[in-house]
């Protein structure tokens, strides 16, 4: 590293330490840029892959009101994808490159979306637990050191918190409904609880990128802190619903002032990340199919825009 780079890096670190925002044209270390591109694009991919498991129930939503709410929600996720791809583009990567990384398996997305949505109650559980866990992860990002990401997250979080409330509402209706509906709600909680806890990532001791991200003010709280916060928040909500969290080791620890909970099956977590989850192949196949089948549409739009630009520049030349 040259003397100038060292100076720039020292200034950058001091700037970030003062809680100031880094903007696209500011100098930043390459590794900061790479970390952000990786994180923001993964986040964007999670939004658009996340549209699939919930989109799965739009056609079968059990009332017109629920259909409209679910459709609006999944549409919001597309919007989040759009802000986040745009935020990542400010770092010098294109949406096409990012999509290509997703389609070829080079880029990751949140593993939770590799689980199937099997009943309507999953629309409740996903909103309540998955969006709930996502909010825990995402609220601190509103203060992230990179300006475009932080600003995108303010808007994303507002919508996510609405999603979480509607998910809880779906669960509440089921929990107060017929016996079959209650069973459906309990079954969904049984299947989504552990994968939701896995959303916070590996235990702190095994989290490879955490320390540097904390130093750069990209990450504010550790995986285990956020997971604990999520458990503490969710247990009373499950009690309110009259549902049982599927963890025999779950109990209030007076001394710690937190709930203790059982050990996560990390073998499953790593297998799903490596592509062995129940829906990894389907999710990517669906994204690739949409992209490939849409190629002629994008080409047409580009060709038309080019023709229009040529017409415009011709008439501008004539006018001059």
């Amino acid at each position: 590293m040259s003397e100038t780079d060292k100076n720039l890096e020292a200034r950058f670190e001091a700037y970030v330490a003062e809680e100031k925002k880094i903007e696209p044209k500011d100098w930043m270390p390459d590794s900061y840029r790479k970390t952000l591109i990786r994180q923001i694009s993964q986040h964007a991919h999670s939004e658009i892959v996340g549209m699939l498991p919930e989109g799965n129930w739009i056609s079968r939503a059990p009332s017109l009101k629920r259909k409209a709410i679910l459709l609006a929600k999944v549409q919001d996720e597309a919007g989040h994808g759009l802000y986040l791809y745009s935020a990542a583009e400010t770092l010098g990567v294109t949406r096409n490159q990012m999509l290509n990384d997703l389609h070829t398996g080079k880029a990751k997305y949140s593993s939770i979306f590799n689980y199937p949505t099997l009943t309507w109650a999953d629309m409740g559980a996903v909103g309540w637990l998955v969006d709930g866990a996502a909010i825990m992860n995402q609220v601190p990002l509103c203060k992230c050191s990179y300006g475009p990401y932080a600003r995108a997250m303010v808007r994303v979080c507002k919508e996510e918190s609405f999603h979480q409330r509607q998910g809880f509402q779906v669960m509440l209706n089921l929990a107060q409904g017929t016996d079959e509906q209650k069973d459906m709600a309990q079954d969904a909680l049984n299947r989504w609880w552990w994968p939701s806890l896995m959303m916070f990532g590996p235990n702190d001791a095994d989290s490879p990128h955490s320390a540097q991200s904390m130093k750069w003010n990209i990450k504010r709280f550790s995986n285990d802190e956020l997971r604990q916060r999520f458990v503490d928040m969710t247990v009373p909500q499950a009690e309110l619903l009259g549902l049982t969290i599927p963890d025999p080791d779950l109990k209030w620890n007076e001394e710690r002032g937190h709930y203790d909970f059982g050990e996560i099956q990390w073998e499953e977590f790593y297998n799903v990340i490596q592509g062995n989850g129940p829906c990894n192949k389907e999710r990517i196949a669906a994204r690739v199919k949409a992209h490939d089948e849409g190629a002629w549409v994008r080409e047409a739009a580009n060709a038309y825009a080019k023709k229009e630009n040529e017409k415009r520049s011709k008439s501008a030349t004539h006018a001059a």
């Binding site: 056609s59 017109l64 459709l71 597309a78 017929t178 669906a286 060709a303």
Partner: protein, 252 residues
């Protein structure tokens, strides 16, 4: 116009918008570009919203203890009276856009009339709101017709084929049956012959800009308004209605 015919006319407005909204919502997550996932979902949401309004009104008028969901989920395909065009499978993006283009030109003009008629203030209210939404749906589909028609050779050929494939479903939009006739005489529904003229103007102008050919009018498919549908509708309804029909006592 009898009271039954009046209710039936409102119900048909609901059926058209629900069936198309249901079809269109299947694009959510599968569009050719993220912006189109948003645009098509947004259009589907508008249509489902319109259907809810029309069904709620129809249910209140018939006063038989039904509501929007009873009308949507507990009628079979023979009871639905939507135009055939709207229940056809989505096909590729060009097919979906052409369907949307044909319907939006029709629905926009229909809402212009419905929002101004003085016979039913509640229908006029729903139509006024829907009219604003349809203006966007029309522009969105017309712009895509132009882009695809005047884009690449491939897109031109594809969308021209979609126009040919769907053309025979456009005649039904303008064929008046007794309900349409009674509604027209009562001042509730538009004159479909006049509507055909404004529709033709919209379609022809846009096709010309898009360098696309208007097909010759030939045999036209019909039957939707009489509940004689294509084979596609009952599959669509089976999927849509599965939960309320499986758990009739549940509320969601």
């Amino acid at each position: 116009m009898t009271e039954d015919q009046h209710i039936q006319a409102i119900l048909r407005l609901g059926d058209d918008t629900l069936v198309l909204g249901q079809r269109l919502s299947a694009w959510c997550g599968h569009g050719p570009i993220l912006e189109e996932d948003i645009a098509l979902s947004n259009t589907a949401l508008d249509l489902i919203g319109q259907a809810r309004n029309f069904y709620t009104l129809a249910a209140a008028r018939e006063n038989q203890g039904r509501d929007e969901d009873k009308l949507a989920f507990f009628r079979s395909d023979r009871d639905f009276q939507n135009h055939l065009l709207l229940e056809l499978p989505n096909g590729h993006f060009g097919d979906t856009i052409v369907r949307q283009f044909f319907f939006s030109a029709f629905a926009l003009e229909r809402y212009v009339f419905l929002s101004r008629q003085l016979m039913d203030a509640e229908v006029a209210g729903i139509a006024s709101k829907a009219l604003k939404e349809l203006q966007y749906h029309w522009e969105h589909s017309a712009q895509w017709i132009i882009r695809l028609g005047d884009g690449t050779e491939e897109s031109h050929n594809k969308v021209q084929q979609s126009i040919h494939d769907l053309w025979s479903y456009t005649g039904e939009l303008f064929e008046a049956d007794e309900v349409d006739q009674a509604g027209f005489e009562a001042g509730l529904l538009p004159n479909l012959e006049l509507l055909r003229d404004t529709w033709n103007t919209r379609i022809d102008d846009c096709l010309q800009k898009a360098t696309l050919q208007r097909p010759e009018d030939g045999w036209m498919q019909r039957g939707g308004k009489q509940g004689i549908h294509s084979e596609h509708l009952s599959y669509m309804l089976a999927e849509m209605q599965i939960l309320p029909r499986t758990y009739p006592d549940a509320s969601w």
